[in-house]
Amino acid sequence: MKRTQIAPGVFYTQVPGEKFKRCKLAVHLVVPGRRENATALALLPHVLDRRCDAVPDPTALSRLLFSLYGAELGSESYTAGASRIVSLSVGGLKSEYAMAGEDLAGQYLDLLCNLLFHPKLSDQGFFEDEDLAIEKEKQAEFLKSELNDKRSYCMRQARRKLYADSPLGIESPGYLEDLPGITPENLYAEYTNLLNTAQVEVLACGMDAEAAARRVAESLVRPGRAPVALPPTEAVPVPPSFEHFSEGMDTVQGKLCILCASGKSSDGTADAVGRVASALYGGLPTSRLFVSVREQQGLCYYCATAFGYFGGTLTIDSGVDHDKAEHARDAILAELEKLQQTPVPQDELDTAIRYLKSAFSSAKDSPDALMNWAFTEQIKGTGRSLDEMAEAVGKVTPGEVQALMAGLTPAVEYVITGKGGASDA
């Protein structure tokens, strides 16, 4: 998948999609992540995807998508490393599946460009008060509801402790306390600034990416457009000691999250080794944590790991009985220590490699997976294809896994304890 520049700061990638029933177009606007505008940029896509000049009523927009055979409009804003990404996408059936031969792909492109570049504005030339008020309220409720899912809440809390005020600590959905200060004027200013400064990545699968990128680039021609360089992501420093936090909550099952830090930035090689190491430590049903901590010792229901490319971290999260949390923690760390001290047997390594290679190969069967892969590789700066990644993974050695694991230090533990449990978070 070749990435081509079509205008200053505007790139496109044609994702192969001949075999799929659907086609999809995504436009990602990428800027350096900043704490000060995190909430505004988190809110922006929700205001943009309500309506636009051409379709000024939200229900009419929903009905338009349904009339396009259930086309999907996607909008999101999130952080990846030190960058903030604001994305809009439209996808749906290819034209050949339309009942009356309609040009569906052309309508997807029109809709996406209308939403992104021709938003519904007030007479004053800013976003509509009503749209902003509604979406601010929704975002506030979303932020407040994070404790509904205890598993992800526990992981978020652990990351907050480790990342603190670093760029990696900027919250993807923004901050509750910032919402009241967002006005139609300053949100519109953020929107304008985003269009002026963002690196723009256009990805299309099953439709013409170059034509779409040309249209996007034309819409971006404006005085003051000067794309800014994206900052590198610094690794999370290893804290001087393993810090422990707990929070009491009325739950049946406890949650335990351990973050390990390496203090090193990742590169393409570390990415491949990290994926393999994570898979055999806690990413598979044959992994050390699943077999030992869950199946043999019965200390948890789940125990999963994830390698964090940005920041060079490893996350371990587990669902545990409240009275077994300490035992589970000790067992998890004991398995880590084994991998740090002893090279993994070749057959165990091969199992993880086979699984990952199969997963990379399967990803080529999904337009969403292909597009996500291509874009994520661009953000990382590694730019590899799925085949190249499979090849890199296939070359990982027991020594490399041991070295990567040995470089990890348990940094933060966050535990959701039962009702009446002590809170020291």
């Binding site: 001949e18 055979y69 059936l93 599946y97 009942m99 739950t251 199992t351 699984y355």
Partner: protein, 426 residues
């Protein structure tokens, strides 16, 4: 969608192969030679609601959670090597899931297809249970049950089922309870294997880069019974028309109340396809994204994203559930009833009906894109007694009058229940 003529590309996408063996096993395949992966489902028509049966003159009653428990135990082989390990040797990813009315064992692989098919057909076809492994699993599933008890969405759904049903097993959590699974023994599991894991009760559905010849050869190697097993009679308790409990509220650590408004409908006899299509349209037209009710509730801050309606249609039961998060759940409940009354009085929107049918056509075709979804569609449509093409034909044939008629008979307030999960009071 007034005239039903599928585009040639859609006609082609819907073509799949089916073979039924003398032992009753049905094999469905949609070859997708341009894909790298293969997804295979070996499914049985046995889920959490199958809690009593008769076979060979014997009556068996099962504790809640048996089907799900069995799904966990099937991965263990007699030689002590579990199926996950065997799949790991080929690089395949494997899993299983239990629903109300079926259990499915799956793998996705890009390599060693014959070997993966052999593993799948072997561990599901030749179960092995011991007292010791059953006891160990009771602890693991006990933890899973604990996890779901903390999940407000799961508590809300099963809380609603308990409100709607007096006796039907759909009211019980799919995983059962710690107490109910403690009653499970190897003998119970072997009885279930005989009754429900015989080929005549199962489907092997696959999609991807493989052929029917490969599937038939794998089935041949698996050594499955050659003869069709005696029929199993599924037994369901008598269920009154009324709801069991019209209103329940519980407290959990959540930020905002979760509500469920449920309606108990008469179960469908015979083919369910048309009823399912009509129910789907009813949900969408009343409170889906294209409805005026959804927009009003959303914009007035009465509901959050995720609000919507869905239906469930299983042996002996049919229900609607409208659910979401709201700081004013009672107001949402009233608004839904008001919208039902308004559409009954004023009639439903023909334009909205037409685009909802277009959306359903689009979803059905999009479902034929990934090997995972295709195999899933082939399996689920088999258990519903239809093909994907037949479902599309029903979507095309359903009229606005059909939906309006259903609106007048279904969604009655005296057969509704309301379940709330409130934040823990200070």
């Amino acid at each position: 969608m007034h005239k039903y003529q599928l585009p040639p590309a859609a006609e082609k996408a819907l073509r799949f192969e089916q073979v039924e063996l003398p032992n009753g096993l049905v094999i469905r395949l949609l070859p997708m030679p341009e894909y790298g992966a293969v997804h295979t489902i070996y499914g049985t028509h046995f889920g959490s609601i199958n809690r009593a049966f008769e076979q060979g003159g014997k009556s068996v009653v099962l504790p809640a959670g048996t089907a799900h428990f069995m799904e966990h135990k099937m991965f263990e082989n007699a030689d002590g090597v579990d199926a996950f390990t065997l799949f790991g040797e080929t690089g395949a990813s494997s899993n299983a899931y239990t629903g109300f009315d079926r259990t499915s064992y799956i793998f996705t692989a890009t390599d060693q297809l014959e070997r993966n098919l052999d593993i799948l057909l072997s561990f599901v076809g030749h179960p092995h249970f011991t007292k010791a492994t059953v006891q160990k699993e009771q602890g693991i599933i006990g933890q899973e049950i604990g996890m779901y008890e903390d999940n407000p969405d799961a508590r809300s759904l099963f809380g609603m089922m308990e409100c709607l049903y007096h006796n039907h097993p759909v009211r019980d959590d799919i995983a059962g309870t710690v107490a109910s699974i403690a009653e499970i023994t190897p003998e119970i599991l072997y009885a279930c294997a005989d009754a429900f894991y015989n080929p005549g009760n199962m489907v092997l559905a696959a999609a991807g880069n493989l052929t029917m010849k490969q599937l038939l050869a794998a089935v041949e190697r698996a050594g499955l019974p050659a003869e069709r097993a005696p029929a199993t009679k599924r037994v369901f308790p008598a269920e009154p028309d009324t709801v069991a409990t019209p209103r329940v509220a519980i407290e959990m650590p959540v930020a905002m109340p979760l509500f469920c408004l449920g309606f108990k409908e008469a179960p469908v006899q015979g083919s369910t396809t048309k009823t399912e299509v009509v129910c789907d349209l009813l949900c969408e037209m009343l409170c889906g994204d294209t409805s005026t009710l959804y927009r009003r509730l959303y914009d007035e801050g009465l509901v959050q994203p995720g609000f919507g309606g869905e239906f469930g249609c299983y042996d002996g039961c049919l229900q609607f559930i409208f659910s979401g998060e709201s700081r004013q759940p009672e107001a949402v409940r009233e608004a839904i009833f008001a919208e039902i009354a308004r559409q009954r009085a004023e009639g439903m929107d023909a334009g909205q009906f037409d685009i909802c049918k277009r959306m359903m056509y689009g979803e059905a075709i999009a479902d034929l894109e990934s090997v995972e979804r295709v195999a899933s569609v082939l399996s689920s449509s088999y258990f519903r007694g239809r093909t994907p093409a037949e479902e599309l034909a029903v979507i095309a044939a359903v009229t606005l009058a059909d939906v309006e008629e259903a609106l007048h008979t279904m969604l009655q307030e005296d057969r509704s229940a309301f379940h709330l999960v409130n934040p823990v009071s200070e």
